[in-house]
Symmetry: C2
Subunit: 388 residues, 2 copies
């Protein structure tokens, strides 16, 4: 069910012939009753046409529908690419009785080639005809590129539901890009309010994962809230909604890391004792993106030397974050291997699909967590073997 688990959402996924593989490649999500919404976009300075167009739409209207295509990213396609994204929104709006500005368009796939518009528009019309509550799973499949399978999550609160679907396994195939997520809820939010809930949920989930440290031109997370349940809002229900939203975002983010290109293990990196949460985040991110830490993880090597070297070179305030080597401690899967400046001699046996890495800095109260995949032969194969 995923995105159609909350009341008042319909979805469809159809095959429009955009993907070379011939798999389903156009998804449509629609809210009825009227929804409010928000989106968060890639911070990459090179932004795809659908990102440019959808940002513009969200500035002037609340989103009622989301069109997603896989197979072509419509990125680095210039003014023609923006016109194609606009035409896609207009086609969906015409089918659904909306204005184009109420439609969000997302694309993922090959960079630098035009969208095949005839197929795209036929796909949008077919998807509009097939919209149903049962269509959530088909939609979740139609947004995938080289993901190993659909990524969905649902969380229930008292009287409301949050559902989500996502795609992404790094910037996988050469010229294939993107992490995309669409989240729906029947919790009632007022106009302009969705962003306030979405931002912290994304900050604690999708912004705390790394497959390869690369940030795509198409990344997007969209939230639609239609209030189809008559929940009477209280500060406590808002908290419950925020928690459910965080849960869905966290589940989807973890699915993306676990399905990371060539990944064999999820590294659960935790940094505490930093001077601030922001500094802890910078250090956790540096560890999560270190090729040496990630290859050691693939070798199931509790290599605290590489964790320390990464932590000691975390970008911070124009230089590297200040550390006191004598107050550092590191543990793998709960076994302390480096204790306040000295190796303990313990050698934990690592195994399984997850590995916890805890770094304590002993400087303050700042803490942060990060999820990362390991760096493997298959990562190199996936990203090197297909030449253009």
């Amino acid at each position: 069910m995923s995105i159609t688990a909350p009341r008042g959402f319909l979805a469809a996924g159809v095959t429009a012939g955009i993907k070379v593989s011939g798999g389903p490649d156009v998804a449509l999500v629609r809210s009825d009753p009227a929804a409010v919404g928000a989106a968060m976009w890639t911070a990459n300075r090179v932004q795809a046409a659908p990102v440019v167009v959808s940002r513009r739409h969200l500035e002037v209207a609340e989103p009622q529908a989301v069109v997603v295509n896989a197979g072509s990213a419509n990125a680095a396609t210039g003014a023609a690419g923006e016109a194609d994204a606009e035409a896609t929104a207009a086609a969906a709006a015409a089918e659904l009785g909306l204005v184009p500005e109420q439609v969000v368009v997302l694309s993922t796939g090959v960079i630098g080639v035009p969208l095949p518009m005839e197929r795209m528009l036929a796909g949008v019309r077919a998807a509009a005809r097939e919209l149903s509550v049962a269509g959530g799973d088909a939609a979740a499949r139609a947004i995938l590129t080289t993901d190993s399978g659909p990524k969905t999550a649902v969380a229930e609160g008292e009287g409301f539901v949050v559902g989500g679907m996502a795609k992404g396994a790094g910037m996988i195939h050469p010229r294939l890009a993107t992490m995309l997520a669409v989240i729906t809820t029947d919790y009632p939010l007022a106009a302009g309010e969705a962003g306030r809930f979405l931002r912290p949920a994304v900050e604690g989930s999708f912004n705390r994962i790394s497959v390869d440290g690369d940030c795509s031109t198409n990344d997007a997370v969209v939230l639609l809230a239609n209030g189809a349940r008559a929940v009477s809002r209280t500060p406590r229900s808002d908290e419950a909604f925020a928690a459910a939203l965080a849960s869905v975002c966290g589940d989807l983010a973890r699915l993306i890391v676990a399905d990371g290109e060539g990944a064999t293990v999820v590294l659960e990196i935790s940094v505490r004792g930093a001077v601030s949460d922001e500094q802890a985040h910078a250090i956790a991110q540096r560890i999560a993106t270190s090729p040496l830490v990630k290859t050691a993880a693939f070798g199931r090597d509790p290599n605290w030397g590489r964790v320390l070297a990464a932590a000691g070179s975390a970008p911070w305030d124009g230089g590297f974050a200040e550390l006191d080597p004598a107050s550092l401690s590191v543990s793998f899967d709960g076994v302390t291997v480096f204790d306040r400046g000295s190796p303990t001699g313990s050698v934990p046996q690592l195994g399984g699909a997850a590995c916890r890495v805890d770094l304590a800095l002993g400087l303050g109260e700042g803490a942060a967590a990060y999820l990362a995949s390991d760096l493997t032969y298959d990562y190199v194969r996936i990203n090197a073997e297909y030449t253009t």
Copy 2:
């Protein structure tokens, strides 16, 4: 010859039994006549004991000798490690008629285990006995860890010589660290003056290369200048010396990248048209460290989409560097594949041991260059297969 190519330098390399492999592992370089010198160190906040001790030495005396050992990094070894580095300097000083503060100590190898001091001190004494002009090559071999061979460079100016030796191929073996370089010259410099020449030479060479973006706990570049040639200095001779120093640093830096872990190609990344040289550097570095760009290089794939995505996410001023996608151009080996915002359709055939990647931003006059190795199966193998 390398470091003994300039007049007035003696060197030796001996086997002290510190390396498990049984290869040569202690090098000694000595200047006679008296030298002045400078060093640049890793910016990593976790610094090895020899770095801490040698920095202290250089604050109070001009360096006359450098001891280097391979096989143990003497890093993350606490106060005992610093005492061992001090004892090493003291032993060398006693053999050479110096005070300990005139000796620089460098270590590379396994992190977190104590230096085997009996072997180390015996090695220092043996090296002191073997010092000779012919010993430059033996010294260059004794500082290696898993490098495929010695890395040396010599540049001659009018009436003077600059010689250098280096080691490093990333942070290679699990718990082996470090890029080290020792540079000698018979050009006359005054006390306190060496750093002024060393800094820009290192900035344009060792600080413009990336094997895996990891920064070790032991990185060091040391320059000794003994004025053994009676060059009469002029602004023009100073320029010639700066150029020779830059040439030696540049040659050594390129050797390190070409010998990078598992590397099959050297990426010569050039960014121009940035708003400043500093911004061009940030963008070049982001491209040089992108796993997607580096795996594409391994696949000999002229993947401009990944170059653009990396450039668009270069850290700058607390965010990402501002770019105008419509003014971006990319070429591979001189063939333009993306021209002011649009793909050209050209597909250059990449091959050989080097690949030029040029990115033009069209924003200003800022430019920077960077060398990077590709990301390969062998990189993963080297860094993952040895478990502790």
